[in-house]
């Protein structure tokens, strides 16, 4: 069974690498992380030198910052676009019919797509980290000597932790986009629903907390809130960014809630895909 899924993943990659979209998305992520990560930090440091800004230009802090930028800013929307497009175009072009008619196996086919997208996320993060390492070395050299009192805040051991957290962070959003696209059988509708839910979920969490602290329990089970908690390194108690951020759940709680979202949304998508008729174009 696993061999069959791996074979399907291989041939999904054969198709996907010939499309423009994944390469454009990778280029956007690279550009974004370099411009708004390392190099904006460099400009900021040159305007007003500080020990915190200096730390961001050096390794390994630059690497940790780059994956955090991907996840907390453009990453979610881009992964939703990629997932919805990879799944939705099969419906739009009608290619889902000849593929399934070959005895591919429904859940195996969808699982191979989702696993491949996740592998691409992992690959993209590695590329971003490699580019950020080079940028950090250059920016660090251009910045010159360390200002007085500067200390490197991240350790090298934080790099694989940040990488692992970032890889996991995007999984519930892949599951969300997969479910929305399978439900609507359309790339555009899948993207729209997922992006709206992502933005609304994040905004709603803040709004609920502003309205009443009694809604804190409900908020602690919302996707965006837990994703935010997961990607910030360490537990909520470690942050000093104000009352609302102090309400972030622990990393363990966030991990469990995100896992539940992955299983729920992924399971629903597979169930729907497995039992639904595949109508003509």
């Amino acid at each position: 069974m696993m061999r069959h899924i791996l074979n399907l993943m291989r041939w999904e990659w054969f198709k996907l690498r010939k499309r423009w979209m994944p390469w454009i998305i990778l280029a956007v992520i690279l550009l974004y992380t370099q411009v708004f990560g390392v190099w904006s930090g460099f400009v900021f440091y040159r305007m007003s030198p500080s020990s915190e800004a200096y730390a961001g230009l050096k390794l390994p802090q630059g690497l940790v910052d780059s994956v955090t930028v991907v996840c907390s800013q453009v990453g979610v929307i881009l992964i939703i676009v990629l997932t919805a497009s990879v799944i939705g175009t099969e419906y739009r072009w009608g290619t889902i019919r000849p593929v399934l008619a070959k005895g591919t196996g429904r859940w195996q086919y969808l699982a191979s797509k989702v696993l491949l997208i996740w592998l691409l996320v992992v690959g993209a993060l590695l590329v971003v980290m490699a580019a950020s390492a080079i940028s950090s070395l250059i920016a660090g050299a251009l910045a010159g000597g360390a200002p007085e009192g500067a200390s490197i805040s991240a350790r090298w051991v934080d790099v694989p932790i940040a990488f692992g957290k970032a890889s996991f962070f995007l999984l519930p959003y892949i599951a969300l986009a997969t479910f929305s696209t399978v439900l609507t059988t359309s790339s555009a509708a899948g993207m729209a629903i997922s992006v709206v839910l992502y933005l609304a979920d994040t905004a709603a969490a803040f709004a609920f907390l502003e309205i009443s602290r009694r809604l804190e329990t409900a908020v602690s089970y919302m996707l965006g809130w837990n994703a935010g908690a997961w990607i910030t390194m360490g537990d909520a108690g470690a942050t000093d960014a104000g009352d609302i951020l102090n309400a972030l759940p622990s990393a363990t709680h966030a991990f469990l809630v995100l896992t539940a979202y992955i299983l729920l949304l992924g399971g629903l998508a597979l169930w729907l895909f497995q039992r639904r008729d595949v109508a003509a174009k």
């Binding site: 072009w93 019919r97 070959k102 005895g103 595949v278």
Partner: protein, 311 residues
């Protein structure tokens, strides 16, 4: 006798209040070309979609290549090539890459000789490296057939395979289907054109409003509806003699000829009966019913399409 490659039992598909396929029971024998014929909305495509696991039957069951729909159905599908409705392939891949992909997911990636052979077979060897999106409808249709043939399947399910082809292309595809049917494969074909089915099919099933109207070997179905045209030394006496035969459905006069509604293979019995009564036969010829007239006869008022065509 060989087990049929396909056997459906009371296969039914309902979409809300619409009964798309209504208790369909057909048997497709091994080898040859089996035609699924019927007017608009008769359930041909829905039937094919159920066989390919794209649409779940509401009730009823089927056995495909010896496998039931549940377990083993996927295994059966590995040995089936299909083209259902319009050819749907990846527009950003070339014809060759599309074939490579379908070969790969079927577990046999990398056989470039097979790809070359299939492209040659459907006349796309020159355009194999062009993107699918640049193909004409006819070329897309031919690539769809090539895709169905990937992995050398034992059975082909082709829904309107000559759609969009020019007359020369249609003739080529018909010839190809005929050849595939005689190479030991079984081809299940639904066609837009009655004369096409008449040319390539050995067996047919006629559907109307989701129901099976008739099925069997084409020759048997048409022969049972045949007639014998003759002229004798005494047509009046001959008409009386022939009318008395229990296996003759009726006798009419047509331009000085008698037309007996009887199976043509019993013409020797007719000659013998007339000869016994002293009437000599001067001329005799079988009258074959065309598939078109047979189709219109059995579907009655359902035949809402143009003569010679169903869709």
């Amino acid at each position: 006798m060989d087990e049929p490659v396909l056997e459906t039992q009371a296969l039914t598909k309902r979409y809300g209040s619409l009964l798309a396929v209504d208790g369909l029971s057909i048997q497709v024998p091994r080898g040859g070309v089996f035609g699924l014929l019927g007017p608009n909305g008769s359930g041909k495509t829905t039937t094919m979609s159920m066989l390919l696991g794209l649409v779940a039957p509401t009730s009823g069951t089927f056995r495909l290549l010896g496998h039931d729909p549940g377990r083993g159905h996927r295994e059966a599908l590995h040995h089936i090539g299909a083209l259902v409705e319009s050819p749907a392939l990846y527009p950003y891949l070339s014809g060759r890459e599309n074939l490579q992909y379908f070969q790969g997911i079927n577990g046999g990636g990398g056989d470039f000789k097979e790809i070359d052979r299939l492209l040659e077979m459907v006349g796309l060897a020159e355009r194999g490296r062009s993107l699918f999106s640049t193909y004409s409808l006819g070329m897309k249709q031919r690539l769809g057939i090539a895709c169905a043939l990937v992995g050398d399947p034992t059975m082909l399910i082709l829904d309107e395979p000559t759609n969009g082809l020019d007359p020369a292309g249609m003739a080529e595809v018909r010839e190809m289907i005929r050849r595939l049917g005689t190479e030991g494969r079984t081809v299940l074909l639904s066609s837009h054109l009655l004369h096409e089915v008449e040319q390539v099919c050995d067996h047919i099933a006629i559907l109307s409003r989701g129901r099976l109207i008739a099925q069997g070997a084409m020759r048997d179905l048409l022969q049972n509806r045949g007639a014998i045209r003759l002229t004798t030394t005494d047509n009046t006496k001959a008409a009386t003699i022939i009318s008395a035969l229990p296996w003759v459905a009726g006798v009419t006069m047509d331009n000085g000829y008698l037309v007996a509604e009887a199976p043509p293979e019993r013409s020797w019995e007719l000659t013998a009966a007339l000869s016994d009564q002293g009437v000599a036969v001067k001329e005799m010829a079988p009258v074959q019913v065309s598939l078109e007239s047979y189709f219109l006869e059995v579907t009655g008022s359902d035949g809402d399409s143009a003569p010679g065509e169903t869709s």
